[in-house]
Symmetry: C2
Subunit: 191 residues, 2 copies
């Protein structure tokens, strides 16, 4: 790595760290490119050279900065109801912390703001998590715990969507009891 490249990488990481810290401190609405530049000790033009918008910086900061829930397979105890409950309860608890809510609001605002950012976030964050869920549902269907014609993509979108809706409206946060009700409803319809 040349000296120039090393300096670039140092600046890039300083920018992502600054964006992540500011996001956690004040949320997406308070975040400005000016503030990120000031905190990172770089010029605004350095940020604009690498990222097209505030949303694009936020997406990278969330994905590289460890804000997003790590991509771990769903538990497989052999019982789909137990496993879906654990998974949806864990996501409910994550997304209703201050950090988790801030993260999902920021990623949603970035997605709504910018179509390119939307594609990157889907490919690197949303889709891999949805795929893990679909994989576990496919195994349950193969094991006869779901009907042979159970619509796996629909079930996945229902489990994710009901939680997302409750978080995004910014009203009463969803609870683990809500998670259990959603799982029971879905498995009642797919069993």
């Amino acid at each position: 790595m040349t000296g120039g490249r090393r300096r670039s990488e140092t600046s890039r990481l300083a920018i992502l760290d600054a964006a992540r810290d500011l996001l956690l401190e004040g949320g997406y609405e308070q975040l400005t490119i000016d503030a990120i530049a000031g905190r990172a000790g770089v010029g605004k033009q350095t940020i604009y050279r690498w990222w097209g918008s505030k949303g694009a910086v936020v997406a990278d900061a969330a994905l590289e900065g460890g804000l997003a829930q790590p991509l771990t397979p769903l538990p497989d105890t052999g019982d789909i109801e137990t496993d879906l409950r654990r998974w949806l309860r864990a996501w409910t608890e994550h997304l209703t912390t201050a950090q988790g809510t801030g993260l999902i609001l920021a990623l949603t605002a970035a997605t709504a703001d910018d179509h390119t950012v939307a594609d990157v976030l889907f490919e690197r964050f949303t889709q891999p998590h949805e795929q893990l869920l679909r994989d576990r549902l496919e195994r349950a269907r193969g094991a006869g715990q779901l009907a042979s014609d159970a619509p796996v993509p629909t079930i996945a979108s229902v489990l994710i969507g009901s939680l997302l809706y409750r978080v995004l409206t910014r009203q009463a946060p969803p609870t683990v009891d809500d998670a259990d009700l959603v799982v029971r409803l879905v498995l009642g319809g797919a069993g």
Copy 2:
């Protein structure tokens, strides 16, 4: 109404019209307070005097400017499956038009951007629509078409959330077939 008040109301409506038109032409990401002021023929300060943020203008423009789906009761044919299908198909078709997608992305970005705007949009847009859905579900439960312990709020959040998730990710748009699958899944679990 005094001359001053009349001028104020004229400016207010010009600002909301400009915001609505710019939103339909270029989407939320392109929209700026500068552009709204230019189109409406007012100074930026006039906008900032009445609205705290871009999100707040957009919320009012969507709610007063006829962009949002009108609040009409769900059909009641006496058959809950027929009625939910019609309702979810209509929303799916609305939210996958260019105007409908633009609207929901703008309202979501505004909600994620600003907590005050989130509360206003929930109270004036989201909650009334969710209440109509809950009312219809309650009647179906009373008529014995849903189990007596069917969790009406959960069913409502699942129906709305699955559609919202598919629209917000900005990937393949949901179809009326997806709507039918969601309704069948939910009624299978709640019947």
